[in-house]
């Protein structure tokens, strides 16, 4: 391997699960499927987002909304140098939001008001801003939200936004027949065992991506249990337990058969129902993986962290089925540290690539071989037109999810696609003017 001051690639045997690569300047590859806080904010029906920050930061959020064809659901207040020093930080926010409300001509039920790093560093009194606005517009729920990437090591922007978007919920009498899915940015596959258990128990499932009206959103407060499967949902689960007293159950999206069975046992215990036997579903997942391996053969496989929340666990599962997993694009192991350790031990030559190292700039120009990629960043860096195109598990879960992903891998192998228009689409699954 070429010698670098800061290497972009390591054998997994030589990598640290907590952070494989030295931090440094970062490259931003042209891969846009991951959602940002604007995409997430649009999930609350009828809400109108307001961002207050500097022009350089505003532009990205505004054009996210524009590309989604939802510019009419977002407004902004720009900050100048003077705002930081002239003592009007709070009053400018109150007056700016008020002006926006008057101009849009109706009162949205909820305004997520996003502050920036600058507000936090300047000591903005956000409580007084929200209090003043609430007094002025008692029919609108103002929710404090944050576009504060400088603080990302304290809490990630996605986890923080995910939490705050539920802060508009107000206590309701508990409905023993209702449960929530928390922290998802897209509907979960109805064919998943998770949803089949919930539906089969006769329960009402509330899930933000399924809400069509603000009233449906508010109804989430009635649930007896909050369920989540993405690691970015922890902050929301904790906050909802504290504010609404709804207990939480975290059932991570696993790529491990025993782990999934344990998830279902926990879910059924929490719901007080008998746990179904999912042998047929497990057998179907097993068959789907074998079929995919038969098709894909010895072609090298690359997996990246944007595709699934546990990339190392998916890589381990694929290795166990004989797939030739050679490359993983990820900085560190999160929840799947055990799978990372297994790969270190059993597949030490897998190459781990940094998603952002500056020396990845030209990686796509000299991809080492034809690969089947699972995820957009792997597709870009390995110049793969054979790739599975989704982000954050794509709504797949459980044995059915494993079957679906195996089928998608098989399809990706058989049907190469032009990656460029797919990778540049901002917010996978969202509407986009680039497609019209």
């Amino acid at each position: 391997m070429q010698q670098y001051e800061k290497t972009p690639v390591l054998r997994i045997a030589d990598a640290d699960a907590n952070g494989a690569f030295a931090s440094g300047l970062e490259y931003n590859p042209p891969v846009r499927g991951m959602w940002n806080i604007v995409h997430m904010g649009m999930l609350v029906p009828e809400a109108h987002q307001v961002y207050a920050c500097a022009q350089g930061c505003l532009r990205g959020v505004i054009l996210t909304a524009a590309e989604m064809n939802q510019l009419d659901r977002l407004s902004w207040i720009s900050l100048t140098e003077e705002d930081m020093f002239n003592g009007t930080l709070e009053t400018s926010l109150v007056e700016g939001v008020s002006e926006i409300i008057e101009k849009i001509g109706h009162h949205p039920p909820m305004i997520p008001l996003f502050l920036s790093c600058m507000h936090l560093f300047a000591g903005c009194d956000f409580d007084s801003v929200l209090s003043d606005l609430s007094a002025r517009y008692p029919d609108i729920t103002f929710v404090d939200c944050y576009m504060t990437p400088t603080m990302r090591l304290t809490i990630s922007p996605v986890a923080q936004c995910s939490r705050q978007l539920y802060m508009g919920l107000k206590p309701l009498p508990q409905n023993p027949k209702a449960v929530n899915l928390i922290g998802c940015d897209r509907p979960t596959d109805e064919n998943s065992e998770l949803l089949r258990i919930i539906r089969g128990a006769g329960l009402v499932l509330h899930d933000l991506p399924l809400c069509k009206t603000y009233a449906e959103y508010l109804q989430m407060a009635e649930s007896r249990l909050n369920i989540a499967y993405l690691p970015t949902a922890h902050a929301a689960l904790d906050a909802l337990e504290k504010t609404l007293g709804i207990p939480q159950l975290y059932l991570p999206a696993r790529f491990d058969f025993d782990g999934l069975r344990e998830n279902y046992r926990q879910l059924c215990d929490a719901l007080g129902i008998a746990c179904p036997d999912f042998s047929d579903e497990a057998a179907a997942a097993d068959a789907a993986l074998r079929a995919a391996k038969e098709t894909i053969g010895e072609t090298a496989v690359a997996v990246d962290y944007t595709a699934v929340s546990r990339p190392f666990e998916l890589a381990k599962l694929l290795c166990e089925y004989g797939f030739h997993v050679k490359y993983i694009v990820a900085d560190a192991a999160g929840e799947d540290a055990a799978a990372f350790a297994w790969l270190k031990e059993n597949r030490p030559d897998i190459l781990l690539y940094s998603p952002t190292n500056v020396n990845m700039l030209h990686q796509h120009e000299h991809a080492p071989e034809k690969v089947l990629a699972v995820g957009q960043k792997a597709a870009y860096y390995f110049a793969a037109n054979r790739f599975v195109n989704f982000v954050v598990n794509g709504g797949y879960y459980g044995f059915a999810g494993i079957s679906a992903i195996a089928a998608l891998m098989q399809d990706a192998y058989r049907n190469p696609k032009d990656r460029r228009p797919l990778l540049r689409h901002k917010g996978y699954g969202c509407d986009s003017c680039l497609l019209s």
Binding site: Y4, S23, L25, R59, L63, G96, C117, T356, K426
Partner: protein, 383 residues
Amino acid sequence: MKQTAKIIPCYAADTSGVCSALYELGGMIAVHDASGVNSTYATHDEPRWETVQSMIYVSGLTELDAILGNDEKFIADVTAAAKDQKPAFIAVCGSPMPMMIGVDFDAVAAEIEQRSDIRTFALHTNGMHSYSEGASEALLTVAREYIQPPANKIPDGVNILGALPLDFGNPAEIPAIRAWLKENGFSVISCLAAGDSLEMIAKAGNAAVNLVVSYSGLAAAAYLYEAFGIPYVCGVPFGGAFSQKLADSLRHAAETGQPESPCTFRGTSGRKIAVIGENLIAGSAAAQLGLMGYEAHLICPLPHADKLLMQGDSDAASEEEIEQYLAQMQPDAVIADPLYRFILPKDTKHIGLPHYAFSGRCFERQMQNLTGTNFEAWLRSAQ
């Protein structure tokens, strides 16, 4: 409030202007920011990002480094990246947070230069100003750093100053301006900064005249005028009549040695048209419309030169101010980016002219090349 918008976007910021101006010159640009400013640039402000790689990176500033004022991390990271990538130069610039904590970019640049032995300069952005200002400082810096004093004056030699994809979103437009210059008997020495290397730009001092095609190129033009006596002419060759006027102006300026601004021509009668956009570009469109018999005025929400804003033009910048100006002007038609449609007076004809620095990728397939008589053809089809 001037700083509030119900619906229209804001223009690209100064950091994007810096990156866009330096994109093709072989340098490394390090933006000191957590992430958003650079990802916005890469996604929405840079049409070349997917096809041409450039060493433009973000520092990934963290809360702890910001609070502790840990400039050393930034300096060390830039130096390490430069050692790996060997850029022709290094430019460092900032975003809102470094402004908040008072990062001294000149000192940072000096330190990086000492450690890397690569020419390093600071560009003083903070993400709170327009792309035009960032690009202007970047192009001026390139001119000062790299353009050599004239050695062999080329009598018909011309430089194009201020050519950025942010303003010329159709990839055919800058080459078309080059071709138009050649058709009119000029030799293009360099284009600052699209399509030419630093080596080409170094020879720019041999030009007889400079063609400034956007506000971003004005400061560099003024510097070259002062340092080497090269006159400059402001305008973009839109339309048959204005292109002719511009070519004549270039020849005249080369003879007299005095700057000229034909893009300030305005018609005084005819149907009223408002053109919203960049000072010299939208100004040139207004000038061509004047020559076609319209009373056209410029609304420039971006930085502008006072002498390039004429009576009847406006520097309205906010959503509210633009609405007020249009209500007062009562134009028959407005030429503006499609995303301005939300704030135009009812019953006013809107002729969409996408501007990358405003709507980014949203209308990339409708970006126009209005060079020469393309302008008239576009206007006919748009009306």
